[in-house]
């Protein structure tokens, strides 16, 4: 099941990358980042089945870090929304020349 799992993980990761590049809504971009993290979790679990349980422990840590990142990232988006009244990343262009 290892090869198939890695293939599915690659496809999900590519879909996440496509989502980040295609969308302009900041929250949907963040959801695609979470999709990428889950694809990597699938890789780790598939490899843990062959190489030992360290992969599952790494998945545990990835989930904890993803939770922390989601909380802080969404707080940042709320703060930006208060200033710009929009979560469209095209509107956050103060650094543009």
């Amino acid at each position: 099941m290892l090869g198939e799992s890695l293939a599915v993980s690659a496809i999900l990761f590519s879909l996440g990358v496509a989502g980040v590049l295609l969308r302009r809504n900041a929250i949907v971009i963040f959801m695609c980042i979470e999709l990428m993290l889950n694809a990597v979790n699938l890789s780790f679990v598939a490899l843990a089945q062959q190489l030992g349980r360290d992969g599952q422990v790494i998945v545990f840590f990835v989930m904890a870090v993803a939770a922390a990142e989601a909380a802080v990232g969404l707080a940042i988006m709320i703060a930006i929304y208060r200033h710009k009244d929009s979560v469209n990343v095209g509107d956050v262009n103060l650094l543009r020349g």
């Binding site: 690659a10 989502g19 679990v45 062959q50 969404l74 208060r82």
Partner: protein, 169 residues
Amino acid sequence: MTTLVFWLFAGIAILAAFLCITRRSPVASALWLVMTLFALAALFVILDAHFIGAIQVLVYAGAIMVLFLFVIMLLNLGRDGPSDLVGWPGRLVVLAIGVLLALELIVVASVAPSAELRLPAAGAATGRENAVLAVSEPLFTDYLVPFELTSVLLLAAIVGAIVLAKRRI
């Protein structure tokens, strides 16, 4: 039989992920992502990671996605707005990157995995032992320092999220 179930849930995960990245409404995207997470939890169980599958449903689908939905509700973004997908120059770039990644996938898949990745003796151990023990025993012995550091990280995230979201600090 296991292969059939595996491909069923893999197909659901890929389809739900594609629908997640293409929906116009953020709420619909969030719900399709929840479907993807459930399908991935089923895949984790098929791959002998029962505890991780349960944690995936509890933490990822049950807490992180609920947080997303709360934020979408607070910012009142639930309605179908104008589509926020980039125009055709951006889509061509994504198509080119997708073709590149697919070529890489084909190249990697055509190379046979090395001998180290075929260790049924070591791999079978994760299937037979207690699912929670498989994660908890390394977590509290080999990975004790990262475990404690994760608690500090979560504290920092809590404080950071509260400070960032306050109106007047």
